[in-house]
Symmetry: C2
DNA sequence: GACAGCCTAGGACGCTTGTCCTAGGATTCA
DNA sequence: TGAATCCTAGGACAAGCGTCCTAGGCTGTC
């Protein structure tokens, strides 16, 4: 069973999944190999066989997040017929992932913030996840007819979402999260109405 | 010279200042006593005399931030005659602290996010800084005549600012920061106009 | 000059970390 | 049956961490 075609996930995949989750919940720096080893029932020292360094593991986690994000964006692409519907899919992740966001914030934002403080070289890769969302949102606003300021609007939505996640997590405030999602949807509707004129 | 009335700052104050800055730039967890000792030219082991534990030091840092924040809010209180002018003072810190925000994000948001992931007991204290801003902003909106939704508006401003800081730092994007400050000021003006009616 | 209190340098401690090595079990194929 | 490959457990390692102790240098008071 050397190929990935096995029915059950490979050990490597299990490690990446566990690391992905723990990096999100505890942060990258304070998640140790021992933590991950315990999560997948593996001996700590044996990690070297699968990942030469902790940074290699981080890169694998980020690559997985990039793939997952791309798959998510493709799914939204098919889900919504109008661009504004697709953007609403994005906004809706705040609701869909509410429980985790209240506990741990935004997985993208918290990782990039941490890596920036650590001066970690994988920061650019982590930022690429943001860029995926940014580019996709920009395309949606372009499709809405906002050719001129599509990128500005994309960044605006991205920023608003970041703020909501950070503050909702800090205050453990579900009501605030829902309020802001409503506001953001209202703002989006305003955009649609403006574009029609 | 056992009192704080000395012209030069006490060693303890120097330590807290250095820790404050380093916790902001590198994060709490990855800032070691050795780092702080080097910053104030002190031997590492000697820290025990001033602070029994690292958590004690963190608490001192947060208390200093609380005092500084309160002083800042009082200053704004006197600076602006109208409540909307005072709120603009708050929004303006994104511009005033632009350079540091682009490098390290928001000092309040990044600390609370980190402490939440570390499950650190000082999280509540750190959140109190947010609460200072929240309460103060709420009072300004109340003074503007928005009695009903003053807290919601306060949280909205706080959230928007958080998002701007996070994303501006991630993308190292000064233009985005300025754009969003402009948008936020426009939004505030809309609030003022709405309240007049 | 003797004493007391404040503050310091330097190093020891136990622990955890990421990294790396080695011996051997399990499986596959000839 | 024998060899080769894949994967594992367990532990060694050097380094860094927060914490803590001790001896001694300052400084002011009697």
């Amino acid at each position: 069973m050397s190929t990935a075609s096995s029915a059950s996930r490979t050990t490597r995949e299990q490690i990446v999944d566990a690391a992905d989750q723990l990096f999100y919940e505890q942060g990258f720096d304070s998640t140790s190999f021992a933590d991950i080893a315990a999560a997948v029932n593996l001996s700590r020292g044996n990690f070297y066989y699968h990942f030469k360094t902790k940074d290699d593991l981080l890169e694998a986690v980020i690559e997985q997040r990039l793939r997952n994000t791309q798959a998510l964006l493709q799914q939204w692409e098919q889900q919504g017929t109008q661009p504004q519907d697709r953007i609403r899919c994005f906004i809706h992740i705040l609701i869909a992932n509410q429980a985790r966001i209240l506990l741990y914030g935004c997985p993208v934002g918290t990782l990039t913030t941490e890596l920036a403080k650590l001066n970690h070289h994988a920061l650019d890769q982590a930022n690429a996840v943001f860029t995926l969302f940014r580019t996709w949102l920009r395309q949606q606003f372009q499709a809405m007819g906002r050719k001129q300021d599509a990128d500005e609007l994309a960044m605006h939505v991205l920023g608003r979402s970041q703020g909501v996640a950070t503050l909702a997590s800090a205050f453990q405030d579900e009501k605030f999260l829902k309020q802001e999602v409503k506001r953001l949807n209202q703002w989006l509707q305003q955009c649609v109405d403006d574009a029609k004129q």
